[in-house]
Amino acid sequence: MLELSAVHYAYPGADSAALQNISLSLHAGDIVGVLGPNGAGKTTLFSLLSGLTQPSQGQLRWQHNTIRVGLVPQHLAFYGQLSIAENLAFFADIYQLTGALRQQQIQLVIAACDLSSRLQQRAATLSGGWQRRLNFAIGILRPAELYLFDEATVGVDAQSRQQLLAAVQQLAAAGKTLLYTSHYLQETEQIANRILILQQGKLLLDTPLNQLAATTRQLILQWPEQAPTGWASLLVELSLTATPLAKGELIALQNEQQWARLQQFIVMQSWQPLWLHYGPPSLEQLYLHVSGGQL
């Protein structure tokens, strides 16, 4: 539904580009966890996707001519002097919701974010967690094709967080596309079905997380300079694919026999890998390795 082709963006006067040659496709039902250290380009990517900025080069192509985007920014983007109900009613008007759809959407987000007990309370007087829930509710109030969540659950208690994550999954189940950034990698791992890792404006990894989860084991390793002779042909023989990472490569294994053959090959080499991890897939390990240890 949304295609980014060789998208490039540089801020005026900046030495380097905030995004470089980003190409990816986003589909209905995707929950895409966007990971990367500060300055990796996540914010710029969200700005482009929300239509706030236009790419310097490359193209963003939507399946439809127009696309509606629901935003849950990191900032508490609502009016503190208005109550929860008034904020929801105001943004419902701004999103041009009318009639039954308006009532339905408002009731939906009130239930999804568990706001019903404090509807008449002014937003400025709510606790931090409640304010996050209201911020979240306003973002998903808009019927949209694409939703962007930026640290949407910071400061929310564990129980409420699960409720918000459930709301995110419901949106995906309804065929919406979601991009999600969070410093809680476990949270991203819980809901995302696809991971993008950005670093210094480049897309380091774009991989389906469920595919990783479905595999029993994964091998991440980094050879000192280049892979030894025979390594590539062994992978072909075992019907394995190596996904290149910033440092090394990632290989998803389907059975123990494959791991035994690879292990046998590795121990016979005169030089050993600089780094090797074999085990169940872990987003945190994957992320740390791909990004070179930067959080």
């Binding site: 929300s50 900032h75 508490l76 208005l82 105001f90 999103y95």
Partner: protein
């Protein structure tokens, strides 16, 4: 519907902002009441009588007559009571009074405390000059046997006053030359502070727009596809209406409340349609200028400094704090650049000049032109800011 939602939201936010309500309504109301009290004697017909102390170093007939003549106009305080003004006559008062020389010596000395206001100084000067003239006339009449020494001082003074007192027929005229009743103090003081208060919308306008930028609500509004013009109107129109409300409230208070406090009521002379046109012109001017200031500022400190500073400077040069009539000519030309001055001219044309729409048209046209220029400039700056909004909402 979206514009209406923006208007309703702004109205709700304002209603709940105690500081904004204080700045927009309580402060101008307080100003109007205080200034109405302070200037209540202006044009009252009987000016306050100044008090002076009189120190005479001679006790001859002329000195006593001068004291009696001066007492007709000023309050003479007892010797032991302090006064801002002292009138001192010399021992040779009579000789100096009658001297005829090309280089006349002063007949008396006036000592003003340095803090004495110019109006009081002028009142004392006039009174002393008249008393001196009456004393000189009295001396002339006595020399020519037209006054007798057998007559008492009071009788002599009464005869002299018949010769010197004047009755003036003082009338106010309108723009068409028609005679008008003299305007009371409220007609002069209320409009100045009403205009001053209306221009204070700059501060809450700047603060609310800044708050929307910083919180990210403007990001949400932009991403919802709201056109910049709708956003701009959503900011200006509520304050335009607030301005009209301020105008109505302060005029109503001045009309109904001032007489209950024993002050001269505001008399709503002139055409009602002209009031409507003038109120709308001032409101458009102040709300557009407020939007211009709001679009410029990038922090709350800037908002406070720029809006407060602009308001006070425009008021100072526009004849709000000091009447233009008492300004030097160069300052009067500078005053003509202030929209507050145009607004005040329009108000006075109605309140004191009993004017019609044609009388306020020049002021209204200037105000509306200023509103257009301010809005267009502000709109371009606002559009530029909107275009620079990023996901983080910080820019």
């Amino acid at each position: 519907m979206r514009l209406w939602a923006l208007l309703a939201k702004e109205w709700r936010l304002l209603r709940r902002d105690v500081h904004a309500v204080a700045v927009l309504f309580l402060m101008p109301l307080t100003f109007v009441l205080l200034m109405a009290f302070a200037l209540s004697d202006l044009n009252a017909g009987v000016p306050a009588v100044a008090s002076v102390s009189l120190k005479q170093q001679a006790d001859d007939h002329n000195s006593r007559f001068f004291a009696a003549a001066l007492k007709q106009q000023l309050t003479i305080l007892p010797d032991n009571q302090d006064s801002l003004v002292s009138v001192i006559t010399s021992a040779d008062f009579t000789d100096l009074l009658q001297q005829e020389s090309d280089t006349p010596t002063p007949q008396l000395q006036l000592l003003f405390n340095a803090s004495t206001p110019p109006v009081l100084r002028q009142q004392v000067r006039s009174a002393v000059t008249l008393a001196l003239a009456q004393t000189r006339l009295q001396a002339f009449l006595r020399t020519n046997d037209m006054l007798s020494d057998e007559q008492s001082l009071a009788e002599q003074l009464a005869i002299v006053r018949q010769q010197t007192d004047s009755t003036l027929d003082e009338q106010d005229t309108g723009s068409q030359g028609q005679l008008l009743p003299q305007a009371n103090a409220s007609q002069h003081s209320v409009p100045a502070w009403l205009i001053f208060g209306m221009f204070f919308v700059m501060l809450p306008m700047a603060n609310t727009l800044l708050s929307e930028q910083q919180s990210g609500t403007l990001l949400r509004l932009k991403s919802a596809g709201l056109p910049p013009l709708t956003l701009a109107l959503g900011k200006c129109l509520p304050y335009f209406m607030i301005n009209l409300l301020q105008f109505s409230l302060l005029v109503s208070v001045s009309y109904w409340l001032l007489p209950l406090l024993g002050l001269a009521p505001l008399q709503l002379n002139g055409s009602p349609l002209a009031y409507l046109l003038l109120a709308c012109s001032i409101a458009l001017c102040s709300s557009s200028f407020g939007f211009f200031i709001a679009s410029l500022v990038r922090s709350n400190e800037q908002a406070l400094m720029l809006s407060g500073g602009c308001n006070i400077i425009l008021a100072a040069i526009g004849g709000i704090m000091v009447p233009k009539a008492v300004m030097p000519e160069a300052m009067q030309q500078v005053a003509a650049l202030s929209p507050m001055s145009w607004a005040l001219d329009g108000c006075l044309a109605l309140l004191t000049g009993h004017g019609a729409i044609t009388d306020i048209a020049p002021a209204a046209v200037k105000l509306l032109l200023f509103a257009c220029v301010s809005f267009v400039l502000a709109y371009f700056i606002f559009q530029y800011k909107l275009s620079r909004i990023k996901w983080t909402a910080l820019y």
